[in-house]
Amino acid sequence: MTCHLARGLLVLTAFSVSGCAAFSPDSGMSAVSELTSRAINKDVAFVRTADGAGAVEARVHQLLARTLSVESAVQIALLNNKGLQAAYNELALAETDLVEQSLPPNPVFAVSRITGNGASEIERQVVGDILALATLPFRSEIAREHFRQAQLRAALATLRLAADVRRGYWRAVAGNEMVALLTDAKATAESTAQLAVKLGETGSLNKLDQAREQVFYAETTADLATARQMAASSRERLARLMGLWDGGLDFRLPNALPPLPRRPLTLPSIETDAVAHRIDLQIARLELVALAKALNLTEATRFVTLLDLAGIARRTQDPEGPSFRERGFDVQFQIPIFDGGEVRVRQAAETYNLAFNRLTERAVNVRSEARDAYRIYRSSYDIASHYQREIIPLRKIITEEMQLRFSSMQVDIFALLTEARQRLASLRGAIDARQRFFLAQADLQTAVNGGGGVPAASSENPTAIAAAAPAAGGGH
């Protein structure tokens, strides 16, 4: 009987384990890489060997050799950020779950020997979780969905990192540009402040006017210090995201934001694109599928939650008689007398409904986020291009005309300074507006692909425009 039983178990196992998963050579990374490269066109690497680490290091080194573009910064982060590697480790762990779940339950062998009074009884049991075996295809499929989800999560972590790097990059570059602008402004302010002192000495400028001319220098100095600090912090954050330390910290960033694209993207189908591509949405969808499968499983096992089948071979030795063997089997059922399994079915159904509603909600939100991100993208483009095409050229005209008026002795030298202050405010507003545009562009990408995290509109005002700057862009 034991033999038959064991054989039967093996056959059953062999039969049912046809969907059994083995460890993949890349721990499921190829899917992640495919997903992310479709969205952001970057390489990802799961570093597990010394060779791999060496290759990554070489690549990062090569990318760092040149002034970083936003794309190379993203690429470095994807290769070098250890947090991302940890996310990939989680994926590898999920694969171990998958493999585990797709194996048949191990049979349990039990030997018990009872002696007493000269008599002994040896009982050997082969116990198999029949139910676990019976539900193996279900469970393996569920585990596969979970693994798929884990892959998506890894992809999401990748995209999120990419988006964070983009934002960090634009902030750092804008910080550089602001520092350069204010450094120039400070030099100008300094020489005119010195002139004001000299004019005080010649008797041409009273104390009140001297103070008025010098306050610009003082304010600009303070603004420059603030801008330097913000630029340093932005750069540090970018370094963190790129996983750089020590030798890698001397990476080079451009001194100024690039000009705006000639025209903004027109994305009429952005909502559908977002619904189709958003990885968080795909995860939620897979969750629902997994839940649906889990519900079927629950339905199938609602009356029998645990079925233990035990083959028993018992040998009893009595000191007063010859030993004898007994064979049989032992089946244990847990009969759901009290709840009839209804509770668990209800739980499963509600869980499914909950997930369904969450998915729907998320889809609605994704559409709205996509629309919003696109609107922010467009309006920030319009504002930045208004600065670039209207305000800055007008300021240039004003500057040139003021210079003509100065050189033909129509206006005082300090009228030029007043004008320079206003121009500075406009230039700061323009940098700010351009930074907002590039942040909005990064957010637009995440609105379609996922990985956003921070809603676009919450990007904080990166610079404190001086009170003298009425046209500094204001709020959002």
Binding site: D184, A187, T188, S191, T192, Q194, L195, K198, L199, E201, T202, G203, S204, L205, T399, E401, M402, Q403, L404, R405, F406, S407, S408, M409, Q410, V411, D412, I413, F414, A415, L416, L417, A420
Partner: protein, 444 residues
């Protein structure tokens, strides 16, 4: 040089202007039009009593026709573009193509019929400043006549009771119309040619404008802060020189329709004021001057014997009236080194030059200016920059000039040894009186 016939044939007169209104067109003389801003040769009369005509500085005299015993003129009040000097044009209102309008010349006892056609966007009138005429011809809109509405032509008729120098200007919306340049001179010659005759007779009217740098239209509401100080709506170096033959007796007739007085100064000579808009000053009342103040709303005429050859500055003596547009809120930078200024300015205005650290003299530097804006100080002479603007020109007295030649004879050829010169070594500083106080100790 210029015969009467040749003058009439020049291109200076371009076409006749049609006249609108109820007056029969045939009865209205043509309205000559001037498109030049340089001084036109004198207009010798071809009919009526003879006289020695005047020359209008950067201007012209209005041709007339005799109609019976009436001398008929036609003024057209219209918007014009007047060039103040090369590089600056101003949209003004004027007469017959220019502002100021042409000089009207007549002879004592003439009967004048002056047609006035209004091509302005608002009504106007013409007041004959200083002339003794019937009240109904005095041209005060609302008081002595209806205003001349746009498109209408009025006619003024009066007899020239006395000779002298007079002006004409509107008495309708007067402040605006005069601020827009509507004015002109009237010269009435004595019937007796032997009455105080001269060889050359110049005439101009002074007016002021506020034209902000880069603009083309004067501020008509400005009362005091003008920046264009003009003689016949021209500023130096746009004002023609006064060419004079050595030994000529020269008369200069100056009207003032600006809002301030102008002390007019001629170098190298003394002169006598011989006439005002009130009439001839008896010789017994004349006294020698080198500067005569021309009050607001008045005419001063001086006669001078040009007996001292050379290039003689002739200008208003209010020094800012010999400047073109200047900023009045410009700080005094004297005492600050040019280097310091350049450092401060270089960053603010890379093309601007740091000036004014020793004074305002700009030497030969050509300063870039806003559109339609003249340099504040300008003009070049044979020894370098003249650094003048506004009410400044030169009386050029030459021996070799023909009687009626009004061409610019060019720079004066100074006889050897008659020009101020640099000495090789400056004289040692004269000993100054020592103060009685003990020498001061330097405190560290």
């Amino acid at each position: 040089m210029f015969s009467r016939r040749r003058f009439l044939g020049t291109a200076a007169l371009v076409g006749a202007s049609a006249v609108q209104g109820r007056v029969q067109a045939a009865s209205i003389p043509e309205a000559p039009h001037m498109d030049k801003v340089v001084m036109q040769p004198p207009l010798h009369p071809i009919s009526g009593p003879d006289y020695r005509p005047v020359v209008t500085l950067n201007g012209w005299s209005l041709p007339f026709r005799m109609n019976g015993d009436w001398k008929e003129f036609h003024l057209v009040a219209e918007p014009v573009v007047r060039e103040f000097a090369e590089g600056m044009k101003v949209n003004l209102w004027g007469y017959n193509g220019q502002s100021p309008g042409p000089t009207i010349e007549a002879v004592e006892g003439d009967k004048l019929r002056i047609f006035v056609t209004n091509r302005l966007p608002e009504y106007t009138s013409v007041h004959w400043h200083g002339m003794i005429i019937p009240s109904g011809m005095d041209g005060v809109g609302g008081l002595t006549q209806p205003h001349i509405q746009p498109g209408k032509t009025f006619v003024y008729e009066f007899e020239m009771k006395k000779s002298g120098t007079f002006m004409y200007h509107p008495h309708s919306d007067e402040m605006v119309q005069m601020a827009m340049g509507m004015m002109g001179m009237v010269v009435v010659h004595p019937r007796d040619p032997s009455f105080r005759p001269v060889d050359r007779d110049f005439v101009f009217v002074m007016s002021t404008y506020r034209v902000d740098p880069g603009t083309y239209l004067p501020h008509v509401n400005e009362m005091t802060d003008f920046n264009m100080w003009t003689w016949n709506a021209r500023v130096f170096p746009g004002i023609d020189p006064l060419p004079v033959r050595l030994g000529d007796k020269v008369r200069v007739r100056i009207g003032n329709l600006s809002m301030t007085n102008h002390p007019i100064h001629l170098h190298g000579h003394s002169f006598a004021v011989t006439c005002t808009d009130g009439g001839w000053i008896p010789e017994s009342a004349q006294y020698p001057e080198t500067t005569t103040d021309v009050p607001v709303g008045a005419v001063r005429v001086f006669d001078v014997l040009a007996d001292n050859p050379g290039d003689w500055a002739f200008h208003c003596h209010k020094s800012h009236h010999t400047m073109n547009a200047m900023g009045h809120d410009v700080r005094n930078l004297i005492g600050v080194s040019r280097k310091d200024l350049a450092k401060a300015v270089g960053k603010l205005a890379p093309d601007g030059m740091a000036m004014g650290s020793t004074g305002m003299a700009m030497g030969n530097m050509e300063m870039p200016t806003p559109d339609n804006t003249l340099p504040m100080m300008t003009g070049t002479g044979q020894f370098g920059p003249i650094e003048m603007g506004g009410m400044f020109t030169v009386m050029k007295i030459r021996e070799d000039l023909a009687r009626d030649d009004y061409r610019d004879p060019g720079p004066y050829k100074f006889p050897q040894g008659t020009v101020a010169y640099e000495v090789a070594a400056p004289a040692p500083e004269p000993a100054r009186q020592k103060s009685g106080s003990p020498p001061m100790k330097h405190k560290m």
